[in-house]
Symmetry: none
Subunit: 309 residues, 2 copies
DNA sequence: AACACACGGTTTACGGAATAAACAGTCTTA
DNA sequence: TAAGACTGTTTATTCCGTAAACCGTGTGTT
């Protein structure tokens, strides 16, 4: 009761916030937490979280395993610091561009990118809201995107959790495929095809009629992105939710009436609107094509600039 | 080549489908795959996936570690079978009750329940669509729920992935809290309060203004369920999506380009291209909105013209 | 200047993990 | 009855995290 200003910050968290009081006496330091974390991240990037052992990290730095314990309390702390390093902070762009939806989508994209660049982050067990500077920055960015909406703070957190969750889920699945690609030495298409083939032999039409139908329809060979689909639906739902009741009261079961389509389909205004949608879809497709091309060119340009791998 | 119906079904998967050729000759078997899996699941339930070692499982059955390898090819196979056992199959209720939305929500609830009963399932790395009977059953149930909608099979899969993803995410977070509760011996409230306290000391208003505001608002002490919120928004979005375009034609979520190295992310031309994509996406969304509005108006107009519906 | 000792890095040791390889019983089948 | 397929065991290898004791080095104090 005397000195407990801080309810004993978990040691690793203290390190992450840079509250590490560095000592003066004794020999010169040859390592640093930063270098250790850096080396560990490199190993994890290359060979996964499982390959990160104290011995491996130490070896990469040219030291003996036990020496790391002078800088890091336990492996768990090291992992936390690695996570913090790999997570990074959201770019400034996510704070400025567009409306709340664009900004959340940008956050999603960046977050997913980080997950794909450091898939091992997804293997770290989650225990509560991570209390580190960078993850706080992500949360703050998400909340700031929603600042102009009239959602409650609890709802804003829930929305942010939705975005993060989608990125996490997408990362988990995509990283899984990437791992299989690397391990089995196949490209994505080959995996899709072999998965599809396996399904075709295992999934019978009488035991799993709908799934079988999906297979027949080639749904497992489709390479469209189901995760941005999910995010789009989620944010659409949020949008509905926001505009449903501008004041505090928000309970609306809103049972869905299936519209009698034939009727509407030949409404003039509706037909025009639908044509606009189709045009917009085409524009988006073209933009995607250009984007891919630009990416390809950029990659080539970089490769030409420094030919060493 | 004589009887090889399937070219190398991964051994574990063959086991899961019960296509394991049991031998006749030799001494009577004292164990069985089922008992091994059962024991392993019990251990995992009690002490987590990390506690499941071949030695531990064998010890629980009164055998030596190596003896298990007569029944299971490798630990990986055992884990797959454990997953299959713990995942179970969706209840019959999810096939009958209500409309697609109710049924998907029921699937979510059941799935989450399984995750909470066997949290270690969430620690198993995902590599592709699991080709086991039970996970096929879940997928089939989800697809069957959407059978009456006019979504494409690809879209139905995407929706199912959304539901599963939400359950997975919810399970991950909730199981994380449960684990901390068990390890530190605190109840949920105590954890919330200590997390809140830690945040209050670490998150400053000038570094993280919005997050700080959320803390002040007590958003981290709120115990409402953000995951069913997320699911509700997602399904709402799906509902919009379904009613948005009455015919089969709709936005195809092409995978946008994830730059594989940070290098090209700051290539000027690429950035421009990506911005163009974002603009196009926004235009498409706007078009969709107008389309929906047109549909609504058209419907009203029709309703007014002939009041009997 | 002398000295104690805090500190950095090493060495050794322990318990536990997965599984390869060789082994000795046991029961079916020819 | 004999071959040999099949059982579960034993032994050994390699790698893991980290506790504990150990030196040499440099600093702060006397």
């Amino acid at each position: 009761m005397t000195e407990a200003v801080e309810p004993e910050l978990p040691r690793g968290i203290a390190l992450a916030w840079g509250v590490a009081a560095n000592p003066q006496r004794g020999p010169k330091r040859e390592m640093s937490v930063e270098r250790i974390v850096e080396a560990a991240v490199e190993i994890a990037d290359a060979e996964g979280l499982g390959a990160v052992s104290m011995a491996a990290v130490a070896a990469r730095l040219g030291f003996t395993p036990m020496s790391l314990y002078r800088y890091v309390n336990a492996k768990e702390d090291l992992i936390l610091l690695m996570q913090e390093e790999a997570t990074g902070a959201p770019s400034e762009a996510t704070r400025t561009a567009g409306g709340w939806r664009e900004r959340l989508e940008a956050l999603y994209r960046e977050q997913l990118q980080h997950y794909l660049a450091h898939p091992w982050v997804l293997d770290i067990p989650i225990s509560g809201v991570p209390a580190t500077p960078n993850s706080a920055a992500w949360m703050d960015a998400g909340l700031s995107a929603l600042a102009d909406t009239d959602l409650s703070y609890t709802e804003r957190l829930a929305v942010m959790l939705l975005v993060t969750g989608t990125a996490h889920w997408a990362g988990t699945i995509l990283a899984g495929y990437a791992r299989v690609e690397r391990e089995r030495g196949l490209d994505g298409d080959a995996i899709s095809r072999s998965e599809d083939a396996m399904f075709r032999t295992l999934i019978t039409a009488d035991a799993y009629p709908d799934l079988r139908a999906a297979i027949e329809a080639g749904a497992f060979l489709d390479d469209s992105d189901p995760f941005s689909f999910a995010l789009a639906r989620g944010l659409e739902g949020v949008s509905d939710y926001i505009s449903a009741t501008p004041d505090g009261h928000r309970e609306k079961p809103q049972s869905w009436v299936v519209p009698d389509d034939a009727d509407i389909a030949d409404d003039k205004k509706f037909r025009e609107a639908r044509k606009a949608v189709r045009d917009a879809e085409k524009a988006l497709r073209d933009a995607h094509k250009l984007e891919r091309q630009a990416a390809r060119e950029a990659r080539e340009r970089r490769a030409r600039q420094r030919p060493e791998a």
